[in-house]
């Protein structure tokens, strides 16, 4: 084990160079990108955070939530309402948004974690749609169909570039925290529940409790994603809570490769930039997305990264066999 | 009639069968013996197409059947009686039998004939599948498979979990079926029933065949019995 550890440290720099490069590149991005593509990049980062939190449940715990948009939207609405109606402090509004999403996640989670597989997916979808309906129909409180306009960030973050750095920082810190959680004893337990929940229960783990904690964590990060997006976009609308929105992280995760940490981020970047590009010549984005989903399911099982990993593994195996001979 | 050659089967990623070969001739009864986990059930699942082998060949009446879906293989005349019985719990006994009915020329089995072989089932006709005892369930499973009018019957652990007296009855009924000219392949880890019914035996362990011969030869071969069958 000692050897393994040393080797691990040594190769971290070797293996992590491209990640460092990516982070440096993302800090330099505003100097080269047009304002339009900078905003697309912002959206990609925010949605990637949502996709990461979704994948914490899906890729690691093995539970597919089809209601994450509700938490994303709740985060957005909380910030919007606190800023426009209560003229609350910006930073505290963000914190409040995370808390609201986590709290609603707790209530919804209590019901949902009792179920598995497809039943969990239906129930999260149903609860998500319920929250959507409440927001949509509660006209005098949430603005109903019109949503809430005129949500402004503080002076410090007024410029798109400043806000981009804010989003980038929140994204990097959140991604790092999620990465830490996944590799912690708690994360190990979550993965073990996915692999064999019966075995794990007989090791003394109260399955429902751990699923609930994971659900709340995911809801909180989704809320955070919504909360930082709305002041950038200056408005929030009920469409943030629909199941079409919930479908996006599902698709990003499957596109990128669910069992891989960076998979959903890659998936979301591909989707967001593709979206921006497609909108240039047609308004029928959903049909394109639908076709894309089917294409991935049929031709790229395992997602982009999963597919690449499998290819690398096959090549290694082949080399290995050649060496043997 | 059935010719299995060098099949390798996997369950998920684990390699279960390592080049199994054996054959069954028309009209005979052959048994596959071996302990739990020796690969008997996987062999049966490979034949019926539920766990198709990755390599090798299985020919039924001269036709390759690997790669065909289970229902095609069953339609060709192979009847599978699974070890866990797998009665349909939402169906009555009668429905369980009738659901499998398949008309084709040369069909010899119908409800009357089944009931005359298993009179117990007639008296339980309207019971739900789950309300039966282990022995009754086993009869029902066999009856259900017979309704498909198979030419080759695969029996996976027909005596599993049954009281000795029930096993005797079962043995007798299977003997009668055999007399009708049905070819049988039986697997067992509890040697009694299979040996009494069979003409030849194969002994399996860890996914390989370790012995083949007539029942008399097996009885004489003490080392094989000790090593692989623990009797």
């Amino acid at each position: 084990m000692e050897d393994h550890h040393i080797e691990g440290k040594d190769s971290w720099i070797k293996r992590g160079w491209w990640l460092i490069l990516l982070i440096i590149a993302s800090f330099l991005a505003p100097t080269v990108l047009s304002e339009f593509y900078l905003s697309v990049l912002c959206e990609a980062l925010v949605m990637s955070l949502m996709a990461l939190s979704f994948n914490f449940l899906f890729g690691y715990m093995g539970q597919l939530s089809f209601g994450q948009a509700a938490f994303y939207g709740l985060g957005g609405y909380t910030v919007a309402m606190l800023l426009t109606k209560a003229h609350f402090n910006f930073w505290l509004s963000i914190v409040a948004a995370v808390l609201v999403a986590a709290l609603v996640g707790l209530v919804v989670g209590i019901f949902c974690v009792r179920l598995r597989g497809i039943y969990f997916a239906i129930l999260t979808l149903a609860f998500g749609q319920l929250i959507f309906t409440i927001v949509f129909k509660w006209h005098n409180f949430t603005g109903g169909d019109d949503g809430i306009q005129g949500v402004f960030p503080p002076e410090l973050l007024k410029s798109p570039i400043a806000y981009y750095y804010f989003i980038l920082l929140v994204f990097l810190v959140s991604a790092f925290i999620l990465w830490k959680i996944i590799h912690s004893p708690f994360g190990h337990t979550v993965v073990a529940m996915r692999e064999n929940s019966e075995r794990t229960e007989f090791l003394g783990i109260h399955i429902a409790k751990y699923q609930l904690i994971a659900f709340v964590i995911a809801a909180a990060f989704c809320g955070l994603a919504g909360a930082i997006w709305v002041p950038f976009y200056r408005s929030v609308a009920p469409s943030y809570l629909t199941w079409i929105k919930s479908g996006e992280p599902v698709m990003a995760a499957i596109l990128g490769g669910p069992p891989i940490f960076l998979g959903p981020i890659l998936g979301m970047f591909v989707m967001t930039f593709f979206h921006a590009w497609v909108l240039g010549f047609t308004v029928y984005w959903p049909v394109v997305m639908g076709a894309l989903i089917l294409a991935i399911i049929f031709f790229l099982p395992g997602g982009i990264l999963g597919f690449a990993q499998e290819k690398v593994r096959q090549r290694k195996e082949r080399n290995h066999q050649l060496q043997k001979k | 009639m059935l010719e299995v050659k060098e099949i390798h089967s996997y369950y998920g990623t684990s390699h279960i069968l390592f080049g199994i070969s054996f054959g069954v001739k028309e009209g005979e009864a052959v048994c596959l013996l071996g302990r739990n986990g020796a690969g008997k059930t996987t062999t049966f699942r490979s034949i019926i197409g539920l766990t198709p082998p990755k390599s090798g060949s299985i020919q039924f009446r001269g036709k390759e059947i690997i790669g065909k879906p289970p229902y095609r293989i069953a339609q060709m005349g192979i009847g599978y009686v699974p070890d866990t019985r797998r009665i349909f719990p939402d169906l009555t006994v009668r429905q369980n039998i009738l659901v499998a009915r398949r008309e084709h020329k040369g069909a010899i089995w119908d409800l009357d004939r089944i009931y005359s072989l298993f009179p117990k089932l007639q008296s339980l006709e309207t019971h739900m599948g789950t309300q039966l005892s282990g022995g009754e369930q086993q009869m029902l499973t066999v009856a259900r498979t017979l309704m498909t009018n198979p030419e080759l019957l695969l029996l996976d652990e027909p005596g599993e979990g049954l009281a000795p007296l029930v096993i005797k009855t079962m043995e007798q009924q299977l003997g009668e079926i055999k007399k009708l000219g049905l070819t049988m392949l039986i697997c067992e880890h509890n040697v009694g029933l299979a040996i009494n019914l069979s003409d030849r035996a194969y002994v399996m362990d860890k996914g390989m065949i370790h012995f083949q011969g007539t029942i008399d030869e097996l009885k004489k071969h003490e080392e094989v019995r000790k090593k692989y069958l623990m009797v």
Partner: protein
């Protein structure tokens, strides 16, 4: 008595799978439960580990009643089981699987920020050495051999540092050599780790090879209980069980 069942029964609809079984398992013993298929061994196991809840009767562990406790709570008290059909983590490595058990047992599973791999290195390696899986520590669970899976399962159960270990057919589907290795292992664990072991087994050579006490179930009821010699001599046992298999 470490574990005691008092008149426990379990009914599934009309079927009485376990019928008023009273049995005590003393500390440090290697205790076998035998009986034909369908005798109720698995159900009896499930009643002890909390997979099923008894229809009537009581289960006591170290004198405390645990009849109604859920499985994870019983595990925390020190009762762990293996499964007849090996129940492992297919996509975790051997090392990670054992680590999972220790994380749970030492109650650190609610730690969120320190890396899991830093925990309990020595203990995990100790267990892997004990069961002879150290050289396969970084292999995935579903790519090791059947015999090694059984060993892995034993290793995982050891990770929960149990006082009472229930093994459901520990040598099921193993070759003779593998069986002997497992038997030696069970004996060794009982001595070195002071474990109490309750196991079911089909293979009579294993049962009479390592059990210090044997209980025989037949159609859900306890029909004999005693030392291997006593059980072997019992006429009733000969009739229902040993006689039936030869």
């Amino acid at each position: 008595m470490l574990l005691e069942t008092q008149e426990i029964s379990k009914e599934f609809g009309k079927l009485r799978a376990v019928s008023r079984v009273s049995l005590g398992i003393s500390k440090g013993d290697i205790h076998a439960i035998i009986g034909p298929n369908g005798a109720g061994k698995s159900t009896y196991f499930n009643l002890i580990t909390g997979y099923h809840r008894a229809t009537s009767g009581r289960v006591l562990f170290k004198g405390k009643e645990i009849t109604g406790l859920p499985a994870y709570r019983r595990c925390r008290l020190g009762i762990t089981r293996s499964f007849q059909i090996t129940s492992i983590y297919p996509k975790l490595t051997v090392y990670e699987s054992v680590l999972m058990a220790l994380l749970s047992q030492r109650k650190v599973t609610l730690t969120f920020f320190s890396p899991a791999k830093k925990f309990f290195r020595e203990e995990v390696w100790g267990i892997l050495e004990d069961v002879g899986l150290a050289d396969q520590a970084s292999t995935l669970g579903d790519s090791i051999s059947h015999g090694d899976k059984k060993r892995l399962e034993l290793a995982v159960t050891l990770g929960t540092e149990p006082e009472l270990l229930l093994l459901d057919e520990p040598t099921c589907g193993m070759s003779l050599e593998e069986t002997e290795v497992i038997m030696g292992l069970i004996k060794k664990l009982s001595v070195e780790r002071g474990l109490t072991i309750l196991f079911t087994e089909h293979d009579m050579s294993v049962v009479f090879g390592i059990a210090r006490r044997i209980s025989v179930l037949h159609q859900g009821a306890l029909i004999a209980d005693g030392s291997p010699e006593e059980v072997r001599a019992s006429e009733e046992v000969q009739k229902v069980y040993l006689g039936g298999s030869t």
